[in-house]
């Protein structure tokens, strides 16, 4: 993997420009080779990343204005995969806040992280000094 295959986005931490993130993911995936089901793969990755980003906006920054989300999209080879890293400087993520949804019941919240974990091959989180770093990987 080289930096040349990484696209960097620096987004305001608001819901307003999440569509720009989705469009960028779609554009990068257009450069991937031999995808089995490009439309579904693109949709699923966009949704997974979108959910993490929404989480950052609402929970890490608590909806406050002025925060930023730095996103790195890397199309890596051998094996071909898309690596998405999201970094923010909001509050630390607390896994206790992210219980799995009860899929046999009806609930209003709790699907975001479940979707991200279900749709990606890897979802990891770590706190680095004053930053939150999420890494999502989709094998292509």
């Amino acid at each position: 993997m080289s930096d040349i295959d990484t696209i960097w986005l620096d987004l305001p931490a608001s819901h307003k420009y999440l569509n720009a993130l989705g469009a960028s993911i779609a554009a990068v995936l257009e450069r991937a080779k031999n995808l089995d089901d490009p439309a579904t793969t693109s949709y699923n990755v966009q949704l997974a990343v979108h959910e993490i980003c929404t989480n950052i906006v609402e929970h890490a920054y608590g909806g406050a204005a002025g925060g930023r989300v730095a996103v790195a999209l890397t199309l890596a080879e051998a094996p071909q995969r898309l690596i998405v890293e999201l970094r923010d400087t909001g509050e630390a993520f607390d896994p206790a806040d992210a219980a799995e949804p009860d899929l046999d019941g009806v609930q209003i919240h709790g699907y975001g992280l479940f979707l991200a974990r279900s749709l990606m091959d890897e979802v990891s989180y770590r706190r680095e000094q004053d930053s939150n770093l999420w890494q999502l990987v989709k094998r292509l």
Binding site: K16, L18, Y43, E51, L103, H109
Partner: protein
């Protein structure tokens, strides 16, 4: 013939969003649906056939309306999105078991 005839009219509203339903757009959708609910509409067909993208914030709007309507004897029926990937998400989250699903708004209406 001593015949008492009473006619009942049941309101059913079909709402068909034609854009992404995500964390940015869902507050506006929620406000419009809540306004209809407050006006006394308790039966909804939400036609998702032209919705290209649905996230968990959008799903929260659907569940929220479902809960409110069922509390007063109403219901929300969903029309499947045309987008196959969006259909898969509704299956993954088992929304297709919580909601009564239909292939078209007409089918959803006839089933009410």
């Amino acid at each position: 013939m001593d015949l008492a005839i009473t006619e009942h009219t049941i309101r059913i509203v079909t709402a068909a969003p034609r854009q992404r339903i995500d964390a940015f757009s869902s507050p506006a959708l929620r406000a419009q649906l809540d306004r209809l609910f407050d006006e006394g509409v308790y039966r909804f067909v939400l036609d998702l056939s032209a919705v290209p993208f649905l996230d968990s914030a959008g799903m929260a709007v659907l569940v929220s309306l479902l809960k409110r309507t069922r509390q007063v004897g109403g219901d929300v029926r969903l029309v499947w999105p045309a987008e196959e990937a969006a259909r898969r998400i509704l299956r993954l989250t088992k929304f297709d078991r919580v909601f009564t699903m239909a292939e078209s708004a007409e089918a959803a209406l006839s089933d009410f």
